[in-house]
């Protein structure tokens, strides 16, 4: 607790720079990631991130200096080169995009790892550390770095804001965008450049291996909650910022825990929560809507059967035919109906309808008949087929459809 207040007082400049850097990169990564996702270019983000490695190491080897700017330039060059190569290979060879992506990633990352091993024997390499390249080293971010990140962040977000319309329509329908005279090549170039710059800025924080997670996780999480691109951008940015902040906090509370991986873990957790709990698209919602529908069908079947039994319009055998077995589920649904005061339990474990239940049962039966009539009139089905069909449809018909059906008969 004490440490938490200490953290939020930002008395230590290191805390401030790391936290600020993490938040800014979290926002930037998520926002750029939204369009990478919408344009289905998720994998290219991953390829660029991995391909940045040789640039990083070469920058260090050549200039013998591990400053932010040197790393940044190295990353920009090799990231840009890799993205250019992917495009070139897909357009000028028989290789499809996936093969080109895998090829470029393999070659660049392999070469980068090779250079890293070389680096280990290099003087002064101990402080550079392999982990720093692969998994990031947030603690190394100083005030100057944060300023660079901040300026880039503002510029990129402004670009995004200004060209939002173009990026949006490009992602939705590139051919149409071109047909109305949008500069699609240029827009694509800007978007790719933004991805490369973001990756180059971010590897310092989370490293080449986890960088693509920073691009894609907040976006995927946001997609569960909304169906509007603008809100997706806002949500993703929010998630990204939260991930950045929490990552910095957690790593501060647990000395020695690296910030970058923690950011990614928090983001993944957010994505998991979205996956489970989001309304409409979330797993729970879908699961429950499924279960509720099953319960509704079962309830209606019981009510209808009891109604038919009461009116003796149905033979006992015929009733048994579509009376589900006395399963646990069935007994459970019966209990709900009792609770809702739609049926009553009698002696010898039989049930009888209450007034409320009777009304509902008769309504369902009516709908069943209505559908049979309708389908008999319009669909030329055989009589015996009509019945099985109506067994299902009666549960779907609501007031509105009922009115429609009545008017069309």
């Amino acid at each position: 607790m004490e440490k938490i207040t200490e953290f939020f007082s930002f008395s230590d400049t290191t805390i401030l720079t790391v936290t600020l850097g993490s938040i800014l990169l979290g926002i930037l990564g998520s926002v750029v990631g939204v369009f990478t996702y919408l344009r289905k270019r998720v994998l290219i983000g991953d390829v660029i991130a991995h391909s940045v490695l040789p640039g990083l190491v070469l920058g260090f080897l050549v200039l013998n200096e591990k400053s932010f700017i040197v790393l940044l330039i190295g990353a920009l060059i090799s990231g840009g080169l890799s993205s250019f190569l992917v495009d070139y290979i897909t357009h000028h060879s028989k290789l499809k995009t996936d093969a080109a992506l895998a090829l470029v990633l393999g070659v660049f990352f392999g070469f980068g790892t090779f250079l890293l091993t070389k680096l280990q024997g290099h003087s002064g390499a101990s402080q550079a550390g392999i982990d720093a390249y692969l998994f990031g080293q947030a603690a190394a971010i100083d005030l100057f770095d944060v300023q660079v990140i901040g300026v880039c962040c503002v510029l990129l977000l402004l670009t995004l804001l200004i060209f939002f319309r173009g990026f949006n329509i490009l992602s939705f329908d590139e051919q149409f965008a071109y047909s109305i005279g949008m500069p699609t090549q240029w827009l694509k170039f800007v978007l790719t450049s933004m991805t490369i710059i973001t990756v180059a800025l971010g590897v310092q924080l989370v490293g080449v291996v986890l960088m693509s997670a920073l691009l894609i996780t907040p976006t995927s999480a946001a997609r569960f909650w909304t169906s509007k691109v603008k809100i997706m951008l806002l949500l993703a940015a929010l998630f990204g910022a939260f991930g950045g902040l929490s990552g910095a906090l957690i790593s501060y509370l647990n000395y020695r825990m690296p910030t970058g991986p923690w950011i990614v873990i928090v983001l993944s957790f957010l994505a998991f929560l979205s996956f489970v709990f989001a309304p409409k698209k979330g797993v729970l919602f879908r699961l429950f809507s499924n279960v509720f529908f099953k319960i509704k069908i079962q309830k209606e079947n019981i009510l209808k059967d009891l109604f038919l039994l009461e009116n003796e319009t149905i033979e006992i055998e015929e009733l048994q035919e579509h009376q589900p077995s006395q399963s646990v589920f069935n007994r459970w649904v019966q209990r709900i109906l009792v609770y809702e005061k739609k049926i009553k339990k009698m002696e010898n474990r039989r049930f009888t309808l209450t007034a409320l239940g009777r009304a509902q049962g008769s309504k369902i039966f009516e709908r069943h008949k209505l559908w049979e009539k309708y389908i008999g009139k319009y669909m030329h089905l055989m009589r015996d087929h009509v019945h099985t069909d109506a067994e299902g449809i009666e549960h779907i018909i609501d007031e509105e459809i009922e009115r429609d059906l009545k008017s069309s008969i």
């Binding site: 939705f172 047909s179 109305i180 909304t226």
Partner: protein, 262 residues
Amino acid sequence: MIENVKDPSLEAHNLTVFYQKRPAIWNLDFTLPKGKIIGIMGPNGSGKSTLLKSIMGILKPNDGWVKVFQRKIDDVRFKVSYVPQRQSIDWDFPTNVFEVAKMGRISSKGLFKRFTKTDLEIVKESLHRVNMYDMRNRQISELSGGQQQRTFLARALSQEADLFIMDEPFAGVDAASEKAIIGLLNELKSKGKTLLVVHHDLHSAKNYFDWLVLLNTRLVGSGPLEKLYTDELLSETYGGTLTSLSKIATKIEKQGLPIRHK
């Protein structure tokens, strides 16, 4: 059988497009009239979509050129509306019907200008005309094939173009939607618009089009429906010639073909 017109809405000269080394359309020469509904017909893979894309400049011809209203396409884009094949986009994209229709207004606005009240009125009107206004807030992922197509048409209408270039607007729509769409095309025609429509069904083509372009990598014919809709020309388009043409195309792909460059 190729009939040429004066004052054409569209003119193609020597138009040739290759994918890698395989010709998709080859040496097309034709002119199209204004104010007509024109059907582009041919079997699968005969280069219909390729032709439309090269008209719009989405694909650059390897040889030859196209002019629209006697100008380069880049000079008249604001007068031309292109409706891509419905399957060419991802309908899971997070947006709704109204937003898609609104994209049609961007052709006159460019990247930055704001939408005005008039723009929104036009979009609204377009949605009404394709009977999608009630569904304007629907996510596009929840649309049926016919509704998707009508959304695309609303976007095209919003462009207020003079030439409409449509790639298979009837594909995968039911009879009612098809009727609605052809009604709309006729309405546009009566306002003097030109419609260039890729279509598959030979039978209905007879009732829909004033002019036909028959395509099978090469141009089989271009002219008024009455003259083009003959057993001979249709079987030339859809029949046996296809096999030899595709054999030739495969050979060219392997060996290459010296083509003239501009």
